[in-house]
Amino acid sequence: MQVEKFYYDNKTVRNFAYATIIWGAVGMLAGLWVALQLVFPSLNITQYGSFGRLRPLHTNAVIFAFVGNGIFMGVYYSLQRLCKARMFSDKLSAIHFWGWQLIIVAAAITLPLGLSQGAEYAELIWPIDLAITIIWVVFGWNMFGTIIKRREKHLYVAIWFYIATFVTVAVLHIVRSGELPYSWLQSYSWYAGVQDALVQWWYGHNAVAFFLTTPYLGLMYYFMPKAANRPIYSYRLSIIHFWALIFLYIWAGPHHLLYTALPNWAQSLGVVFSLMLIFPSWGGMINGLLTLRGAWDKVRDDVILKFFVVAVTCYGMATFEGPMLSLKSVSAISHYTDWIVAHVHVGALGWNGMLTFGVLYWLIPRIFKTNLFSKKLANQHFWLGTLGILFYAIPMYWAGFMQSSMWKQFTESGQLKYSFLETSINMKPFYAMRSLGGLIYLAGVLLMIYNIYKTVKAGKLVANEEAEAAPLEKVYVKHTGEHWHRWIERRPVQLMIGSLVVILIGGVIELVPTFLVKSNVPTIASVQPYTPLELQGRDIYVREGCYACHSQMIRPFRSETERYGEYSKAGEFVYDHPFQWGSKRTGPDLAREGTGNLKKSDGWHFRHFREPASMSTGSIMPSYAFMIEQNLDTSSTVAKIKAMQTLGVPYAKGYEYQANSDLVQQAKTIQTNLKTEGIELPPNKEIIALIAYIQRLGKDISKPQNK
């Protein structure tokens, strides 16, 4: 058979590599900055630089910009070589690259502006969501095009990982992005309360699974054998663990919602699948590490292998810890604490970070046909990275255990031993040490940037790398002139499955909205929709990213009900688009902030927002003084109420036109309250709306039940 000559596209690989490095540094710098803000609250400079707005910037940057570009870099390099084919279309490659970078820039602009949907890792506003969908399709098109025109019949296991990544991320993104726009930039989640929470963590956990794990396992299966120059330990194991992993992962999401208002059986489902996940996860880790069996001497000399070994080890630790954290009794201790922060950073800094660095050091000299500028610097980077992880993780684990035990401790007379503020002040030294860990890790990355810059300077990019391979034999010979549809007609089972899929998609699209709206009928009669002022205040709460530090979900433990009041019920959240349960308590839970013994005066909240430390000495909460200056935008009220009505919130017909006068009235009441406490303020300020919302929290359920 005639051997064909073709060229690999290295230019796109290089572009993605540069983007990985640049966004990686930016995302980690943002991380370091927000870590320091928890130690020095004065670093919350202006509203655009406050913790609640920058924290999503950090998470989105490291996940979608750093790891995202890392995935594309690795996929574009390895897929071409595994398929023995150039990427399907240079044009698609360019659209994919530039489109993704534009999305990142848009995110970097909108998040500090406070344009957010208020769902973790899905903060980006709906126009960006739309752009992500389009660019993701471009990526898939380019990838499947390449797979179809491949010259190698066998699909290497890495390609399977890439395919699973593409398919699942597409589905996750679409389901999570169920949102109803009320303006050109903003929208409300389609789902409410418990439903929104379940969608969120089904999405959130699978984002970890199919964005941070499966594509990187694919990269591991390609780059680790390459770097070690020996085949993977067991190819058979890689196939088995791949299929097991992807079948199990999609069910694990509810483990983020243990002991919450989510139905119990859904929680148990999540726990069972999370536990089973340890087998395929460790299958991958063992396969990676055993690839180096009998070649550990290579690891001593080869810095790239060192990066890979730490990456895979961290993967193993994180995937052992994950199932353990999914046990209800462990979750009872770990949820809402810094333990989880430690856990995700072992995964992010260790697994994703170190693997990316290894791939970069391996790949850049190859596409530039030169040697790495300095192995010594790379070695120093390795040690800084490893130490950075330790300095980060150990204080955070310690902090997490301590925080949790302080929250749960009672005195002999049965009183809570520590106030929340005391526990929070105790965290400060650990937050400081964690920042140091982050700084060390970032310093390593800066060394890498210098090293790669020098390497690139010394070499020259081989933009189109020559390669040769024989084309695939055509196995099936079709009748000439046969209609394409005959293929499916000869396969009744496939036809049936195919049509079922089509019907299901149609059915889902048609039924979802009605379904969801109907099931939001309140089960607790006293729970009422938010007043217009409270709704505006709630949107400010979402805008400022308060959920990053405050939960609104009290679990049924005595330590929580004593501190915060009655535990949270599913029926309380039926009008919450989006839900704001949060996942971390850097500050206290707010679910009952407006009621019981947590209730404070309007004036207290005013002073607390203006300068938190003046009311709670030692508080690390940022100041929200700008809300005293800023006017509340009431022009959006009509559109917001209308959108809520569409989503099934029972505002009376035509209420949207009366809403603003009600809003002014309620604002004036708060203005009067503030006046009695010696605070003079016009009623049209943002802070008044936020106070109205905070004072509403938990109020409905404490009203006398008329059942």
Binding site: Y156, Y235, I250, S519
Partner: protein
């Protein structure tokens, strides 16, 4: 909680497509040989001429 049925439906759909892909890969003979692919990837990208060059370096 009807969103549960949607999520389970979507998850089953995804899992179903994985199952179909798995069955296809087995039937297609993708896994008939579970050793050579792991070795083959090690020998695929360097051009023969350049390989000699790098070895003599």
């Amino acid at each position: 909680m009807s969103v549960l049925f949607i999520l389970i439906g979507v998850s089953i759909l995804v899992a179903g497509s994985f199952l179909a892909a798995f069955l296809w890969s087995v039937k297609n003979g993708q896994y008939d040989d579970d050793y050579t692919p792991s070795v083959r990837i090690l020998f695929d990208d360097e051009h023969p001429k350049e390989e000699i060059l790098t070895q003599t370096k």
